[in-house]
Symmetry: C2
Subunit: 218 residues, 2 copies
């Protein structure tokens, strides 16, 4: 393969200038690299993972990973956007599903929401890595914050349908969506740290019960 | 990768053997080093912080920090225990305060609980760093998980008094304490990522309202 960049030629790139680099998520090889990178980053953290290891997961040479991603910083930013957008898509589908369900199926819609936003192990590991790296990487922090805002907005828009209430109180919808995302992130961390020792599903069911009964009371 | 310590001066120590080393938290110099280290770790992360920088915060030579803490790994473990125990103490005080307050003051007791467990910026930064490092440091993970369990137990024990309900349903108290800690951790992360853009206090107040009304309904 006639790659423009061999590992020794990779420029030390500013993450801020690297970020807008166009990457085609529809390209199967790009998607495979992004998925493999997400797994490696979640398992070992950003700094302990090399581009060579990510390539190895797929049986690709490091130079091929470099061909698509000029630097590890660029790859980290792209992995974050990629996995977060997949996560937002699942969330969107659960909300559409909730809207199509009958009013009687609202509890199922809430369960689907939990399924959709309950971050898988790779997602949690990656999120924690992003939160930690965000202090040193302002572009990563800006992206993490923007994606968090998108998720909150999506939840706020879907809530009236999910909870079967009218969307009258903007402030309350905003507060509830902040709370829901906090519960999901917090429970994901609890499961990450304690595994089987903590019953995050029971805690989420309690939360859903509270949400539903507070929605009924208006 | 990325450890900023000068490799020639730092012994390669096994974190597991370094952990049980006795450190006297009552010693003012030890307490000062632990507080300064917590601040540095929260600001820059574990790997980018050197023992020399921590000493510099206090006008101490690196060798003095080394006198008390044989390795950065040992210092990280001790900082985590130290800050978490301070945090548990504040939590304990808020719960005792809630028990002494009249039933009418229960909402204030809940507010005090939020004040007590709402992690300060250093606490959040340090927590995120611990979560991230836990994947590479099993002793740190074991400690983080044990301390999380202690906090949950403390909240579960205090809840009947805080919410003014009888402690009949063990499983519900356990679920509620898991939920409360998840909300606190999740909202702390939201504030860390988004700052002023997200109203974590409003979200917590909503949560308290739900908690209280579900307690009234038994």
């Amino acid at each position: 393969m006639n790659t423009a960049e061999s590992p020794t030629q990779v420029k030390a790139e500013n993450p801020d200038t690297a970020a807008p680099r166009a990457v085609d998520w529809e390209n199967p090889r790009v998607a495979a690299i992004l998925s493999a990178a997400a797994k490696c980053f979640a398992r070992k953290g950003f700094s302990a993972t090399t581009l060579a290891e990510i390539g190895k997961e797929l049986g690709l040479r490091k130079s091929i990973v470099h061909y698509y991603f000029a630097s590890k910083a660029a790859l980290i930013h792209e992995v974050q956007s990629f996995t977060y957008h997949k996560h937002l898509d699942r969330l969107r589908q659960a909300i559409v599903g909730a809207g199509e369900a009958s009013a009687a199926a609202a509890p199922n819609a809430l369960a689907a929401l939990w399924e959709a936003i309950q971050t898988d192990k790779t997602g949690t590991g990656l999120n924690i890595e992003v939160w930690s790296a965000a202090r040193r990487d302002t572009e990563l922090k800006r992206r993490a914050s923007a994606l968090q805002r998108d998720a909150r907005k999506l939840v706020a828009e879907g809530l009236p349908e999910i909870l079967g209430v009218s969307a009258t109180d903007e402030a309350k919808l905003k507060g509830l969506s902040t709370l829901i995302l906090a519960v999901v992130n917090g429970l994901a961390v609890a499961e990450y740290l304690e595994g089987e020792e903590v019953d995050v599903n029971a805690a989420f069911q309690l939360f859903l019960g509270q949400l539903r009964s507070s929605a009924r009371q208006g």
